[in-house]
Subunit: 347 residues, 2 copies
DNA sequence: CTCAGAGTGGGTAACGTTACCCATCGCGTG
DNA sequence: CACGCGATGGGTAACGTTACCCACTCTGAG
């Protein structure tokens, strides 16, 4: 225990002096590098423990690795992100890595670029982009300067790895489920596209397109009712209000995410309608809270824990030198609960 | 637009060469330092823009500021944190600062220490600790090495600033509200204390103590019913189940947070009871989602936006050199909604 | 006309770490 | 016995930036 108020940081030189070896030797021990005897390792480790030394990250960043993974999230309002982050953290911390997060700003490509720049400027060893709203070109530019894994987009690129949920399967499960229950007038709430380019790689686009496709396959193309708002509670509220004004009213709503479904439930309740009596509602993400009894929302589970774990592993591999791009898709499953049921009156 | 695949970062030297000035001059412009003419400033700025230069943060960290604020959150599952973070970001970004977040691990002092170490190692200019679970001594140790603001704790320290909600006022508002409605058997769900020391500075402790005090003041000390679980949906669910087994059953539950209240609603629903018919429920935080029609939870609003903004300002001031400690308390307000009502049968 | 002092710009030595290279020591082999 | 080579440890030059100090040029007052 060192006393004294304004104490200088313990540096690698202090450790080297204390162990009577060179700074190079200490550095080798720290990095598990080649050319260190067991005796040397023990001696240095003892000095490190005794002095309470921790490597200075900024200094490391000047020469080598920072042992830091940057995670860019659109925002921290979606509990699904928490599951991904927890799994990622667990996967990388065993290898001495630390995750830092920055907010990208929902569907704001400019803010997102600033945020990813911030990570690059802070010299992270790898970046995980969670559901980014920017263009593929921007992602590739990023991937050129730092190992990159993109989560939740359907792009294919030779420069970065992808971890994603097979949103086509998920959306199909929902729509087929609703149709099998007997619904014909099924509405969908999706996210307004942020970019003029309308990148077909965005998960909300896939879900919406699949909804349209499955509807058409069942000869229900004329029943398609899309509300384009946002993947938030507010978006769900507005989207549902809009769908409820249609005549005839939909008997089921496929919400693009659980948050959207949550907002939709509010609008439905406010309109004096019952779930699932008057309207069935299904979400996407299987967030923890929607499982609870008073919500009990039918939803698509996309196993965020596995996605986070894989994303971490892919990042470590890329940092380790892998150049070939990898794509990993989770196959989602449908979890039916009490928010979906056959429509009240047929025909 | 520079081409070439593996391109080197643009450095301050490149900018200096391009503008035909010294690196010192460029550095001065970057930092808005004294001793730069308008002509110099313009010339350097032009070179910066032309080359697309961005300062290398790690290099800065070796000598001066990193223009980075570290935010330690227990987790990212509480939407209230998002409000704080948004306001903080807005406040500091105007001054060129960027916020990075790390997860502290809920109620795990060891994980929390690792996380705050990680921020210090990454040479952040200031740290915002949101609802930390560690001891005051640990916070003071941190504050000795980096400007620190603590949000959501009631400690008083000469070494760091505090931003907090007056949880005593908030808890009082809730309990007084329930009593005024006619409730006598009022239960409370709180968080089990993580530390053996039982720091009276934790917000959950304040809320629980205030609940007990107000109950006693109304001669309801014998009606006190405490369930100690966790500030999560699961904690609320378990806590409510426990309280519902008591005989006679409480007619109202004051949940320590909105998430807790949310879980409690599930347990109440599962037990076949109605809210507020059979049981009133009140939360704390006034999270956005609980305002929605189908939840409509009575809650305490503690204005996270102002707290985040103030926290940012205090950090900037501390980085600027202020040494005197500051304490800023927000006075919360009660927002009554449809989850609280008079008990069904009096007496 | 001299000189003080403000205003401006630059030279340089750090900051803590690692990559690269070299020196040394044993030991086994031709 | 000489030689080569693997194993080990160390010396040193970066990495990009800023703090500190110094040099030079004006301007205006004495």
């Amino acid at each position: 225990m060192v006393t004294g108020d304004r104490r200088r940081r313990v540096t690698i030189t202090d450790v080297a002096d204390h162990a009577r070896v060179s700074t190079t030797a200490v550095s080798k021990v720290l990095r598990n590098a080649y050319g260190v005897s067991a005796a040397m390792r023990a001696k240095v480790q003892a000095a490190i423990d005794e002095l309470g030394y921790r490597p200075h990250n900024a200094a490391r960043a000047m020469r080598g690795r920072t042992f830091t993974i940057g995670v860019l999230l659109p925002h921290i309002r979606n509990p699904f992100f928490a599951e991904i982050l927890d799994a990622l953290t667990e996967e990388i911390s065993g290898h001495g890595y630390q995750a830092i997060m920055v907010q990208g700003g929902d569907a704001d490509p400019e803010a997102e670029r600033r945020a990813s720049d911030a990570l690059v400027d802070r010299q992270v060893d790898g970046v995980l982009m969670v559901a980014p709203a920017c263009t593929k070109a921007q992602l590739e530019a990023l991937a050129r300067s730092v190992p990159t894994v993109v989560l939740g987009r359907h792009d294919r690129s030779a420069l970065y790895d992808c971890v994603l949920d097979d949103d086509e399967v998920g959306a199909e499960l929902v729509v087929e489920h609703l149709i099998a229950l007997g619904h014909r007038r099924i509405g969908h709430i999706t996210q307004r596209d942020p970019l003029s380019g309308r990148p077909a790689a965005l998960l909300q686009t896939i879900r919406a397109r699949t909804y349209e496709r499955v509807m058409a396959e069942h000869d229900l193309a004329d029943q398609i009712a899309l509300a384009a708002t946002a993947y938030t509670e507010e978006g769900g509220y507005e989207g549902a209000r809009e769908l409820l004004t249609r005549a005839p009213r939909p008997t089921a709503i496929f919400a693009g995410s659980d948050q959207v479904a949550f907002g939709a439930l509010a609008a439905i309740h406010e309109a004096g309608l019952a779930v699932p009596g008057d309207i069935s509602v299904a979400g996407y993400d299987n967030a923890r809270m929607i499982r609870l009894a008073h919500i009990s929302l039918t939803s698509v589970d996309q196993n965020g824990a596995i996605m986070g774990k894989i994303a971490g592993r892919l990042l470590l591999e890329r940092i380790g030198g892998r150049a070939a791009a990898v794509r990993f898709a989770v196959i989602p499953t449908l979890v039916t609960r009490r928010s979906t049921a056959p429509p009240r009156s047929r025909g």
